[in-house]
Amino acid sequence: MKTVEPVSVEGRIRIPYRWPAGRLGTHFLAALRDEGRILGLRCAACDVVHVPPRPSCIECGKTPSDWVPVGPGGTLRAWTLRGDAAYGLVHLDGATTWMTHRLLSIDPLAHGQRVVAVFAEARIGAITDLVGFRPL
């Protein structure tokens, strides 16, 4: 029998999506857009301040309900570079959980490095209203 090259068929799944930010996400993004502020969501039962906000506390599972300002400064806990892209985990001042975002410069980067949030000029209510974090 003749040997036959394996046959493959190409395809692509193209589905446009729209995701709601939800109750808490809307509040957070509105503050970012309208006030240029980053808010944390504090659990009254155990003081954990969540950034970004979540509907249940990572410690006790109850619904956190107190909005508190956090940042714009913070401490860098981890970072990674791939080619031109740089990401970091930032422990914002006043927050318990860390935020993932872009790093706008890689010089200098060290564990414990102080960084500050940079906001976009034109903000639309998206996480990219924060352009990223700049080492101080």
């Binding site: 570079l81 959980t97 564990h111």
Partner: protein, 357 residues
């Protein structure tokens, strides 16, 4: 949980690309030998649980495609959309419910059919993380970076540690005929590989593989009758919060999962474990998970090469169970631990304790 017998296990040779087989054929490649080794024909499989990813398979009910291959047609079956290590717990539950005497678990992953990095981006929080373009490798880089900067348990990791752990994995997998990576590497060679997601170099990150694995379980009565020598005795699973920054990259969830498995298996301590296989998606994880499990120093750790040797998607953790099972069945140890994970940098962990009777 009541002990469940393992009658047989089988896995494919995991490779970068299987153009000659679709994933149903890949699944069949492991089902046939699994049944043959157990000397059981497909009419004696009472039920099936499969593990597969709709995103990886580009198919919204990915289990639909494999049901003929796994002998599920006309039978009660289900699918877990996570690593096979978790599907195995559902299988154990089905067997222990009294409704089924045997249960076949089949997991597959064909990284080559899609773009694993792009797919992984789709798993991040769509509002707060996905727009940043993060993917699973970036998350691994962040985890490794954290470990270089933080005194976790036994001191900060160094780049040399990452290279050493990677070299050990490459060496073990070079001896494993089923592994994707078949060459040994020295730490120097690892350090010379291109930087990927700092501080991880390419050779410090697990590969993306095409492969499948099947394990056949039986209830106590059937297991004894078939002369099963290796038993699943304990299972623990734990899921940590989703956003990367809430987990602190420590090892909490794996310890919770392991503690539960150890408790169910009535083990005194993890020091009693002779052979361990963990899903290490990077050499930083090879070190971190090992530290988290409090194993004894001379434990046989990832003798197959671990995920660093082959990472066929959702089959990866099930392969860990198969590897431990085979070693115990050969008498290379009495107690084993097999670990799997789903989600970035260990959001969900599943841990099994296996014992040779």
């Amino acid at each position: 949980m009541r002990p469940v017998a393992i009658l047989a296990a089988a896995q494919t040779r995991h490779v970068a690309r299987r153009d000659d087989a679709n994933y149903a054929e890949l699944a069949f490649e492991v089902v046939r030998p699994c049944l043959d080794r157990a000397r059981i024909d497909h009419t004696r499989i009472d039920t099936v649980v499969t593990a597969s990813s709709d995103f990886w398979d580009g198919r919204t009910i990915s289990d639909m495609a494999v049901q003929d291959a796994v002998g599920a047609a006309g039978k009660s079956a289900s699918k877990v959309s996570m690593d096979g290590v978790f599907a195995l717990s559902y299988a154990a539950a089905r067997v222990n419910s009294g409704a089924y005497r045997t249960c076949l678990v089949v997991a597959h992953g064909k990284a080559s059919e899609g773009n694993p990095r792009a797919i992984s981006t789709a798993a991040f929080d769509p509002i707060f993380e996905r727009p940043l373009g993060l993917d699973d490798h970036a998350a691994l880089g962040l985890q490794a970076s954290f470990l270089l900067g933080t005194d976790v348990r036994n001191g900060r990791l160094s780049e040399a540690d990452l290279a050493q752990a990677a070299a050990e994995a490459w060496t073990c997998s070079s001896r494993n005929p089923n592994a994707h990576r078949r060459e040994a590497r020295t730490p120097e060679q690892v350090l010379a590989s291109p930087m990927a997601d700092s501080p991880l170099r390419e050779d410090m990150i697990a590969p993306d593989s095409d492969g499948a694995c099947a394990i056949l379980l039986a209830d106590e009565e059937t297991g004894r009758r078939e002369g099963a020598t290796v038993w699943l005795e304990g299972f623990g699973a734990a899921t940590w919060p989703h956003p990367l920054g809430t987990r602190g990259f420590r090892y909490g969830a794996i310890r919770t999962a392991a503690a539960e498995a150890v408790r169910q298996a009535r083990l005194e301590k993890t020091g009693a474990i002779d052979v361990v296989e963990v899903h290490d998606a990077s050499s930083a994880q090879s070190i971190l998970w090992r530290r988290a499990l409090d194993l004894r120093a001379d434990v046989d750790f990832n003798p197959s090469g671990g995920a660093m040797g082959a990472q066929p998607g959702f089959a990866t953790g099930l392969v860990r169970v198969a590897e431990v099972y085979e070693r115990l069945a050969r008498g290379e140890g009495k107690v084993g631990l097999a670990h799997g994970q789903t989600g970035f940098v260990g959001q969900s962990h599943g841990v099994w304790i296996l014992r040779r009777a």
